[in-house]
């Protein structure tokens, strides 16, 4: 447990440095903030690997476990995006999400793990969550884009305007996230189907979660199409990626609790 507190402490201090950076944009704050979240991510990875070794099974079969994996993926995807775009301001809204999911994963009571064999399911879960992580980042940059766009159009340039990243940079991060998230989600669905075939003998069962995942997959495919072929850009794309992510959120939470099915999470 001490180990877990260590990880949390690293994440929190990283968040703190990101917030300090928000108020005083000095490069050293963001650099150390990035270093701390990287350390947190490494310990997080060690913690999960240790759990896998200890339990002797892949540990993504309960909600709590899957959230721990999700939050780890978010950390690494955040670091990758920062590597290319270095917009530390994103961290101050992104890291809280990581921390929340991490704490939620630690505290939620897990039902007894299902016996699932093979490596298709772990792959299914990692791919799907990696895709979700990119979509979450696309969602957040979409929200910030809308806020910033409004500021520029209405010509009210306050403190928020000066802190937020440039419009085209957010638009580009959004595009990058969706172009990376989409193939990952595709792989997630395929590996899921293969895994299902091995366990239940059928690729596709039309359970609500599968249906919604398919809908989301189609929506993101449409979004990519409008962007790359029809040349949509900026506000429309931001609104679309926000809306699709909200639907995704509904599948993730809503379907789990409200609709019966094979997917418990």
């Amino acid at each position: 447990m001490l180990f877990v507190y260590g990880i949390l402490l690293l994440y929190f201090s990283s968040l703190l440095l990101h917030l300090v950076y928000l108020a005083y944009p000095r490069e050293r704050f963001s650099r150390y903030g990035m270093l701390l979240i990287l350390l947190g991510g490494i310990f997080h990875l060690v913690y999960l690997t240790d759990a896998v070794v200890r339990e002797g099974r892949f540990i993504a079969t309960t909600l709590s476990e899957s959230l721990l994996i999700f939050s780890l993926l978010l950390v690494f995807i955040y670091l990758i995006i920062q590597r290319f775009y270095s917009q530390p301001v994103l961290g101050s809204i992104f890291i809280p999400v990581v921390i929340l999911l991490f704490i939620f994963g630690l505290t939620s009571s897990s039902p007894a793990p299902k016996e699932i064999k093979g490596w298709w399911f772990p792959l299914h879960i990692i791919f799907t969550y990696a895709g979700y992580s990119f979509f979450l980042l696309a969602f957040l940059t979409g929200v910030l884009y809308i806020v910033q766009e409004r500021k520029v159009k209405k010509k009210h340039l306050g403190a928020i305007f000066h802190k937020l990243p440039p419009l085209t940079v957010m638009d580009e991060i959004n595009l990058r996230c969706i172009t990376l998230g989409f193939p990952l989600l595709t792989l997630g669905i395929i590996t899921g189907a293969i895994g299902a075939e091995m366990v239940w003998g059928t690729y596709w069962t039309w359970d609500p979660k599968q249906v919604w995942s398919l809908i989301i997959w189609l929506l993101y495919a449409g979004l990519l199409h409008t962007r790359l072929v029809a040349g949509w850009r900026g506000q429309k794309i931001a609104i679309a990626s926000i809306s699709i992510f909200l639907i995704l959120l509904f599948t993730f939470i809503g379907v789990n609790y409200l609709m019966p099915g094979l997917h418990r999470f």
Binding site: L157, F161, P166, L167, T168, G231, R233, G234, K236
Partner: protein, 452 residues
């Protein structure tokens, strides 16, 4: 159309018939087409200065030619003749008829002229109040006139006062800061739209001072290719040469406008030259990449509806000012303060001119009396023998003291009268009493003969 002619006497006399005279047109009175037609390149300015001062009616002259104004500042012998001569010279150098432009001309004389010159130099009469380029342009015009030997003591004094006024306005009010920060604000906005400005293409339409200022701000942020277009091709060429840009013919700009990320517009056209209806096509061509329009023109040259279109951001000069100033009140306060400074300096200048007139008189008076004392002292000393140096010194001191004490009160009174504006009542009388008038006139005649 505006005509401010002052045939009546609104000014004051410098000498018998010397007037400070401003003759010109600006963005406030004349359309851009005419301003561009009347604009003068450096060589023509020298030539025109020669033509102007070659006539007896104009003693001193300098010419300002920017894209917002063409003005002649002169010391005239008589207002009517000087205006006529000025108009004819301008018409001649451009091969125009005076009818082509005289409706747009204004002429100011005396203190009105002084005030106008101070306001122009302080950038209070600029299209974008406070833009810093005008001061440099006027300094350059002044230098040109000096080199052309068209400037005499009065314009010299006048311009130095004008530069002093401009400096005061700049340092004591926020007016100048605002214009500079408009360039800065434009860059900040561009950065918030595009991120890094490196490689972003810029199109500058028109060659106005403020447009150039914004352009230079962008250049210092490493923008990519720059295109300049202007109705008068040569003006675009001159600007392009100084900043390493490409010139585009005014007819051709619509075909490349879609390649520009940032468009600065200061053409001074009386109507919109970029309309919202044409932008759909433009945005399709550039795959909806965002565009940032900066409209510095007065009146506006870009349809405000552009800002409602997707991925297009339009800021006009008021928007930029509001962004930099926050609230209008402060700017108005600063503008009022600047006008106060100008009024103060106009008064100081006027007073200085009056003083100019009394100084030679006082010098005359002093030297006349001192001469007298010296002469009498010598005579007295030659009559007294066996004086040692100490005694001679005492006598000399006494003579000097008498001169100074005798003159102290009259000179102080003269200065006081001058400040009260009563000097004219007494000046002639005093000259008569001291027998100064005749001597000076003789001297003047002598000088005149010599110079002729």
């Amino acid at each position: 159309m505006l005509i401010i002619l002052c045939p009546g006497f609104t000014g004051f006399k410098l000498d018998a018939k010397d007037y400070i005279l401003v003759l010109g047109l600006s963005h406030k009175t004349a359309p851009i087409e005419l301003r561009e037609k009347l604009a003068l390149p450096g060589e023509s300015i020298v030539k025109l200065l020669g033509m102007l001062t070659g006539n007896n009616s104009i003693k001193e002259a300098m010419i300002i030619s920017t894209c917002n104004r063409v003005e002649l500042y002169s010391i005239a012998n008589g207002i009517g003749e000087a205006i006529a001569h000025g108009k004819e010279s301008i018409a001649k150098i451009h091969n125009l008829s005076t009818i082509d432009f005289e409706l747009y001309l204004y002429s100011l004389s005396g203190l009105d002229a002084v005030r106008h010159i101070f306001r122009v130099t302080s950038s209070l009469d600029s299209m974008v109040v406070g833009e810093p380029q005008i001061l440099g342009q006027i300094k350059e015009a002044f230098r040109t006139a000096i080199v052309a030997r068209a400037v005499g003591p009065i314009i010299n004094r006048l311009m130095h006062r004008a530069f002093h006024t401009a400096k005061r306005v700049r340092t004591e009010t926020g007016i100048g800061r605002s214009a500079v920060s408009i360039g800065y604000a434009a860059v900040e906005l561009a950065k918030k739209i595009f991120g890094d400005l490196k490689g972003k293409k810029v199109m500058a339409m028109g060659t106005g001072e403020m447009g150039e200022l914004v352009l230079r701000h962008l250049i210092s942020n490493n923008v990519g290719e720059i295109f300049i277009t202007n109705r008068t091709y040569s003006r675009a060429e001159t600007l392009a040469k100084s900043i390493n840009a490409k010139v585009v013919k005014f007819e051709d700009y619509p075909s490349i406008l879609h390649t520009a990320d940032i468009v600065i517009c200061s053409t001074g056209s009386p109507h919109y030259i970029i309309r919202a209806e044409t932008m759909g096509e433009m945005m399709r061509k550039r795959n909806n990449l965002p565009m940032f329009f900066i409209d510095i023109s007065v009146p506006r040259n870009i349809d405000p509806a552009l800002n409602d279109l997707e991925n297009i951001y339009l800021y006009d000069i008021d928007d930029l000012e509001e962004v930099t100033w926050g609230n209008i009140k402060e700017r108005e306060k600063d503008a009022a303060k600047a006008e106060d400074i100008v009024s103060e300096e106009v008064n100081t200048f006027a007073l200085g001119l009056e003083e100019l007139k009394i100084v030679p008189f006082v010098v005359d008076l002093k030297s006349r009396i001192a001469e007298l004392a010296e002469r009498e002292l010598k005579e007295a000393m030659s009559k007294m023998k066996n004086l040692d140096d100490t005694q001679k010194g005492i006598l000399k001191e006494m003579a000097d003291a008498i001169v100074n004490k005798l003159l102290h009160n009259p000179i102080a009174s003269l200065k006081k009268m001058q400040r009260n504006g009563e000097i004219y009542i007494y000046l002639d009388a005093i000259k008569d009493i001291f027998g100064l008038k005749k001597g000076r006139e003789d001297e003047e005649n002598k000088n005149r003969n010599e110079s002729e």
